[in-house]
């Protein structure tokens, strides 16, 4: 491999070589988040990708007046990348935005952490966007922070800014008071049990592989539900399903939900009516969970974005557990070219029928 291939940013004038496409992670890495060089290097990488014409858009984040809540941003020119940020408040999984570019004539760069990157790989595996149309700028993520937890820790005071360290976080209020809390106490829920913080496939990588956090908490909750009686489970899920307002946020953020004609939008046949009765609520929730099963990457973005707090992770992770146990398949989104176990079969499959 030539020297050019080993650099983190593409070299001017050289097209992306075919070997790099199949190599899943480049050997050389940029500085890690937390390193003072990180943001400058990330911006430089994005700026040169745009300037040299390797991509025509970059999807990443930008600061807002609320320092705890950056917004998703779309960069079209090298100059704009001066505003590009990536920090520990970039909870939003941006991979679905790639589908807006299905007919775009050009390549798109995405700045993605582990969970987002699995979503990108799943979109590629589901043939929703070609691999060579996407420049995956991967970040080995130390864990994201939940702004609500930070604000809760600050109590009545407005939070001015947060400085994150490896084990603790310093919260500075507008009045100037400072408090230090453990990192674990303000991490986003799904990050507390994240085993795969590193992008499985990337064209550019920042940071060293993170270990993640080993926790089986969600599987313990699922096991607890499995131990309940049928009637108890019925009551549990009814209580949650009845709150669903059919905003479809879960569907909209999900990388496995990429159908151009979604079953819930169909009028012929009219599967799902608007009335929020038990029938329709169950129909939506159960059908969506089953439709994404076998392709759900476990990013838990659905759970995070639900405005009424339905514990979608307890459904989607349960389906993942069953698919893994039944078919011994890898976590979706961790490898290019893998198809869902539910579109394949083996004559020796287990049989639950009589």
């Amino acid at each position: 491999m030539s020297e050019a291939i080993k650099t983190a940013a593409p070299v001017e004038g050289e097209p992306m070589p075919a070997e790099l496409k199949t190599a899943e992670i480049p050997t050389r890495r940029g500085p890690a988040p937390g390193d003072p060089e990180f943001l400058g290097a990330l911006r430089d990488c994005c700026r040169s990708l745009l300037a040299e014409g390797h991509v025509q858009r970059i999807i990443a984040y930008r600061e807002t007046p609320d320092s705890l809540r950056p917004e998703v941003a779309f960069f079209a020119s090298p100059e704009e990348t001066g505003d590009l940020v990536w920090d520990l408040f970039c909870n939003t999984n941006i991979c679905k935005y790639l589908l807006d570019y299905r007919t775009f004539e050009g390549r798109i760069g995405v700045v993605v952490k582990g969970c987002d990157a699995r979503g990108v790989v799943q979109l590629i595996n589901d043939m929703q966007i070609p691999r060579d149309k996407v420049e995956i700028i991967g970040i080995c993520c130390p864990g994201q922070i939940d702004p609500a937890k930070v604000e809760s820790a600050a109590g009545e005071a407005w939070v001015s800014r947060v400085v994150a360290g490896p084990d603790s976080v310093e919260i500075v209020t507008e009045e100037g008071t400072e408090m230090r809390v453990p990192l674990e106490s303000v991490l986003t829920d799904r990050c507390l049990s994240c085993r795969k913080p590193n992008p499985p496939v990337a064209d550019v990588v920042f940071g060293e592989d993170q270990k993640g956090r080993i926790s089986d908490e969600v599987f313990e909750q699922i096991a607890e539900l499995e131990r309940m009686s049928s009637a108890e489970r019925d009551a549990f899920w009814n209580r949650h399903f009845e709150r669903c307002i059919r905003c479809f946020a879960c569907r909209n953020v999900c990388p496995a939900c990429s159908c151009t004609k979604c079953v819930f939008d169909q009028q012929e046949p009219d599967w799902l009516a608007g009335e929020r009765n038990q029938a329709n609520q169950h129909f939506f929730q159960i059908t969506r969970a089953v439709h994404v099963s076998g392709r759900c990457t476990g990013c838990e973005e659905c759970d995070r974005v639900c405005p009424v707090g339905i514990p979608l992770r307890l459904m989607n992770k349960k389906l993942w557990k069953d698919v893994k146990d039944l078919f011994d398949s890898p976590l979706p989104g961790t490898k290019l070219g893998v198809r869902s176990p539910l579109v394949m079969w083996d004559p020796k499959d287990a049989d639950s029928f009589e």
């Binding site: 038990q278 079969w345 049989d351 009589e354």
Partner: protein, 153 residues
């Protein structure tokens, strides 16, 4: 989207004349043929079973199961050719995978496991169809009318 008056849960249950309503999705080539054989052999099976004929069990969309419960079924059965004997060669292999997942999931979200079952019934197994229909009907009868996924607020 409202259920019709004869859905079973209301008046019938009150007067003690409730009969379970079972929807059976049967593949044309094996299980439906098996049911047909039961009929031509004059074997009696409960009239509670309402058969929906599909070309292959692999055609059965999990949404059909949900729809059946919404529209008044108290139990749902899925029946297809034995693995290896599918008329379309591989259709029932997909059924097997899909329904392994769906069956566990329906139980997990609170549907009583005795209300849904899957069977491999061949075209010559008229007797098996009869036995399956009888056993399933009795199981559902003992559970009473289904309340889950109905058109209630």
């Amino acid at each position: 989207m409202t259920t019709d008056g004869a859905s079973g849960a209301g008046a019938d249950a009150g007067t003690g004349t409730w009969e379970p309503r079972i929807v059976a999705f049967c593949c044309n080539w094996c299980s439906y043929a098996g049911a047909d054989l039961a009929g031509t052999s004059r074997k009696q099976y409960p009239a509670n079973i309402r058969i929906v004929r599909v070309p292959c069990s692999g055609r059965i969309n999990p949404q059909y199961i949900l729809r059946a419960f919404q529209r008044g079924a108290d139990g749902v059965m899925v029946a297809g050719c034995h693995p290896g004997d599918c008329h379309y060669t591989t259709g029932n292999y997909y059924t097997r995978r899909r329904f392994s997942v769906v069956q566990r999931f329906l139980e997990y979200v609170g549907l009583h496991p005795d209300r849904f079952s899957g069977h491999w019934i061949s075209g010559s197994e008229g007797e098996k169809f009869v036995q399956t229909a009888r056993e399933f009907t009795e199981k559902v009868r003992s559970l009473g009318p289904n309340e889950k996924m109905r058109d209630v607020l």
